[in-house]
Symmetry: D2
Subunit: 418 residues, 4 copies
């Protein structure tokens, strides 16, 4: 059927528009010029008649600034732009589709999502804990859901893919659209994911605190652990946003701790020269330094010797003490303070755009895809492509190069065998 | 001479790397695939020996979040990365190069720019007021400046171009690099200019205030005037970042005020239905509604009938009063509160990158260009290209389309003869 | 009946506890030692049985940070501490008690006020526009309201007093408790009113902006108009909270504009010496300088020559221009941005305390009073006492003395005939 | 000599003015009406001729918002109000007066402290580590310091007292004035210390984060540890400033963990009813629950089983797991993020006042005292009085009563033998 947006004079996206993948002459030479992603946007024709749509929204995994913005904008776009009136928010992640959901779905309408964007977290609740695809599709069909929006990270998107494929196998019209949520910004083929800008902005507050603590003490070291299990984008971006970091440590670029080119020696040299230092470490950095953790788990269940933050604090104190430098190390781990924030305006606008485009895609009958951005344009990306690997910082790339420039940390600190 | 950055293992940019201009298949089909901008980045060879560089930095025009970040990062990159030791900050814009400068240049070094990024404004002072190119080049040569960084908008960049061309005419090695500063984000061939993200983020605070005031009153209208003389990017982006705006008015999309499809009628309808409304207007919107202003200037020298903000407030009150709706209009004009802020982390990182790339370009002997970003990559853009026109919102483009979706404002409000 | 709080082990306030009025030895010598206010707090005995209470809440006048906190805390304290279940929020101020209320009252319970404290403004709506006491009491009795909480300023409290007295005249048990709301902090016999701390904190942002703008220009003047029609507390407190103000102008201390000891001469001297200046003016300052305003009203309905802000801007430019100082004046009027904010934690805690004590007072059968603080203790203050005059800054007092110290502005600028 | 402030028309404080100690009728009946503190303020006569003053400023102990404000305001008041030109900032606390100071004192003047209030921390550096009074006085006399301002907590003030007494013993005119710095607000005879309001405001951010995390999960518990080794004022005030706390635990009110009236049982009941909970614990709370810590220290040097935060997290998980409630506990420890902040406007104004009054007191020849506030008036408090005990929350007092009201936590949770 023709889209109701035609009447409003909307500029509808042609079916054959693609966003190019290559961005510079080297990449162009290396690939086919026609290669690209389907452009996002409203289509002329709808697959689903709005009156027959029963939409479901589910949020999974850890908190990230902007989830509520996405839920709100999905609801408002479905309601106001397409006239969809059946929207339900499933509670506590994929467990909502399991055999014994913890809570009933909530009805979503403009009243229910009013002012929702001012609150961090997720109104729907979240959880980890996947369910078998067939069980989930059974539940969705029992609820007559024909459009599902899944907001979540890697695992969630894989789950969405499994749901979409199971539905295709059963030959039922169930449109499954992912909205990628990863505060670490580590999903490939996407410029940027929502929540990242807010996270970096808040992370710089911790760096300022570390710098303030460090400079207020004689031989003061401020140590900040930031999110990033596999990718150091938050650590690197926060470093670039605040030129007070002296050492930035990320999972992708292993570093030596000991030896003349090791972190400890460089930290000591920095203190002898300037009497304070700031170190930022992504949670996934330096894993080769940690034991298998088995015997060393702290019974408190909280801090472990395989946690790089406390490990570095301990080693800093040991090394500096042995070097005759009376020093203090102030360790800051702001994780929950960051991920529970409401989105800033940058992310809020991104959430709105992703939600608008997710609804357009769903109404046009797309499935098994996520909405993203590439070279600044909104795109449709097959779920399979986005989940096949993780995006990470490249040691030879522009961003890391600029981190080295901004911190002045020696490239030689990089671990040879890394 | 070879760059000192070679030793640090920096990933140097090949001379023949280009960033492609087209971004989607339609644009590619319309243009030559080889078209593009020179990629920014450190080069293998320097044009200037660092010990012989005498760098000057000047800031012009209105305030914009991030100017001090740029000044600081230029200084630190020149000093730490290239070993340049002669850096002077010229005071109060191009007037510093005129016959009677108000103040002596200040010496810039790491100590002078310490913590500078925490302060809004410009430590160098600013001014409007151009000088003849030959006078400016005379002064620069007298000061033995061979590298000049000019931070400013449209007029400033044209001035930088004139300086570069005068220097070329005289056949002296004076490298002139622009760092574009326009809070309105209206320079062409650039994805984004620094300060814009901070401005939009702060602008949303005014919108929240307008919404709060409007909903606290019976038939309350909140009216916010935002920056944007020729381009409505701030108004549009702030609208997309805060889904509480009902009408967004920009210079590029003229609107009818009167008549059944005019703003007044739609505002009245909104109030009758929902009892409050929020209107965002860019300062350059609706100019066709204003008189020539000649006779109507307010003697206070402040507010004028050719100021769209007070004009709309007056017309709203008149129309709603005549319609029998007892209403209040709360008018907010946050301009100085926005432009005087320090940069948020997003803009701070952008400023750092622009400054790093500006220094790389200058050291490699580039001139008569600015540093920018295109499709997310940093570029060298000829000054002539960037100043030949102004970038503006397109009525048929994706951003405006999304504004219409987010506000629900009728496309038909657009003025036919616009 | 005995209070339900007795069982929870609450520390109940004895009936004969008073908070002393005098605070220092001079005041003590001047007054009776026994003079004081009744101490606020829960009482042993209740006047109203909770099951029979029908509470009403109404908010009047301009916005002020914390109104929603008060509404929320009144509701939660009534509900959770006393078990009251009949709570209604009257809409749009005292007009709710008039002959044709704009909207029905809303039912208030814990669900309705959840997260309410995160939003500025008032969920109940507000208005000016008093009603005759007998009409209001008629309506309240028709609604069977026996406890009324009135949140508002001077006029509202006078209205509350009239309601209480009308009820006493009719001999009906209607407990009327005021919660004073004045962002200007100008109600006598109160240390501090809610919203003031938030207002001062936000006002300093405007002063920082003015300072940044002023120092970024040659002979730059930043001029900030703050709230305070009759009392300069916000202007003075913001000046003391940010030591960048050079001149602070308040209603209580008239100043000379012209002449060798006038503001213009001092401003000019400051610019000649330091090249920038910051001026803060309360909206009620310098009224003697303004005409009767009759003929000078600007047709825009917005800015008037009897508005001290634009008036000063105009006179600054005229005087400095005539003195041969090329200068710029940046004028900032942040009013709505301040009053629409949510309360900061200081005010939020104050709102909670006032609401708790208001409920305790009402349940104990007190009426015709407001809750306040005196010497840091919470008190019951008769409405008649609080509305008989306005509190204002004293020229010879400690606060103004400290403003003179902090700004360095000459005491001689004070107008002789003031 | 007569004060230079006489000429400026300052309202000078009479020598016999006292601020009364009692605040209510019960306290008055219990004490002498004449009892009080000397009122702070500028005096008619100076003890020191400004030209002969050599002032020293030292900052000790942990960071606290506002230290730099105090340093700045001391400097500006000495300089501008009294004309003192010899001001030195001693580096890294009392170690500056020891045999081998780490760094030379820095010269303080208006230029050096410009914009200093925008930065958290202390520009002078801090340290713990007392020195013998005779050594410190030796050093001060060698430096010809006759006025010393010591900014610090309990231990620092005791050190200041020792210096003052040693100077009196030697019969040298050395004025020692303390400015009390305790983020915990636990110094007696003071209404409020600087930094506390900022700390509480920031602490509420952690509580919001804990609430958001808790409500985003099924049986989610948010646990926030706040500062307060001996006094729970921050925890209590943050609880009162944010009505989302369900349990507030402070050092002064011991609680049962186990048993039917214990925290664990109440937490479990709360989760069963509402599915999320927020717990705030002061760092000094529940020490009776912790072992002697000797054998249980975590080798990481960071988290210990005698740290109440991780201890509670562990016990929550154990108990809830054993009760069959699958739950998550998110633990937040924001300490450094709070204490390193710049002061908010409330604290900034307080810092200014304390510094102004400290200078007035020193110039008038007062010594062995600190500046404080009592019943809202600024006072001189003998150091001996302020250091003889610590102020703490009273179980039967108004503040704790209001915490019980706001949280709804049962008073019976209080440990009998506490």
């Amino acid at each position: 059927m023709p889209s109701p947006l035609r009447e409003s004079g909307a500029d509808l996206t042609p079916e054959d528009r693609y966003v190019l993948i290559p961005a510079n002459s080297a990449e162009l030479a290396a690939g086919s010029t026609g290669h690209g992603f389907e452009a996002a946007g409203p289509r002329e024709s709808l697959f689903f008649a709005p009156a027959e749509v029963r939409a479901g929204i589910v949020t999974c995994g850890g908190l990230c600034p902007g989830i509520n913005d996405v839920v709100r904008s999905l609801t408002l776009t479905l309601w106001h732009r397409y006239g969809v009136r059946q929207i339900r928010g499933y509670r506590y992640g994929y467990s909502a589709f399991g055999p014994a959901p913890a809570a009933e779905p909530m009805r979503l309408d403009p009243e229910a999502v009013h002012e929702l964007h001012t609150l961090g977290g997720t109104i729907l609740g979240s959880s980890r804990g996947p369910q078998p695809p067939s069980v989930m599709v059974d539940r969705l069909l029992r609820d007559q859901v024909n459009v599902l929006f899944a907001i979540g990270g890697d695992g969630t998107l894989r789950g969405a893919q499994a749901i979409a494929e199971e539905a295709q196998r059963r030959n039922v019209a169930l449109s499954v659209i992912g909205i990628p949520k990863t505060i670490d910004n580590d999903i490939p083929w996407l410029d940027r994911t929502f929540g990242f800008a807010t996270a970096v902005n808040e992370a710089t507050r911790s760096i300022v605190a570390a710098h303030t603590e460090a400079s207020g003490a004689w031989n003061g070291v401020g140590l900040v652990k930031l999110m990033g299990r596999h990718a150091g984008f938050i650590a690197a971006a926060a470093t670039l946003a605040n030129s007070q970091v002296n050492f930035c440590l990320v999972p992708e670029i292993p570093f030596d701790l000991e030896g003349p080119n090791g972190l400890l020696a460089h930290l000591e040299a920095r203190l002898r020269e300037r009497r304070h230092a700031v170190v930022v470490v992504a949670e996934g950095a330096g894993q080769h330094l940690l034991g298998d953790g088995k015997d060393e788990h702290d019974a408190s269940g909280d801090v472990q010797l395989d946690d790089i933050g406390p490990f570095l604090k301990k080693r800093f104190l040991e090394h500096l003490g042995a070097s005759g430098l009376s020093s203090t190390v102030k360790y800051i781990d702001p994780s929950y303070l960051i991920r529970s924030l409401p989105a800033n305006s940058f992310d809020s606008a991104l959430c709105l755009a992703l939600a608008q485009h997710a609804v357009h895609a769903a109404m046009a009958g797309r499935t098994n895809m996520l909405v993203g951005t590439w070279n600044g344009r909104f795109t449709h990306v097959p779920l399979a492509l986005a989940t096949e690997r993780t995006r990470s910082l490249e040691a030879g790339g522009v961003m890391w190069q600029r981190v080295l420039e901004a911190t002045g940390q020696p490239a030689s600190m990089r671990r040879a065998a890394g």
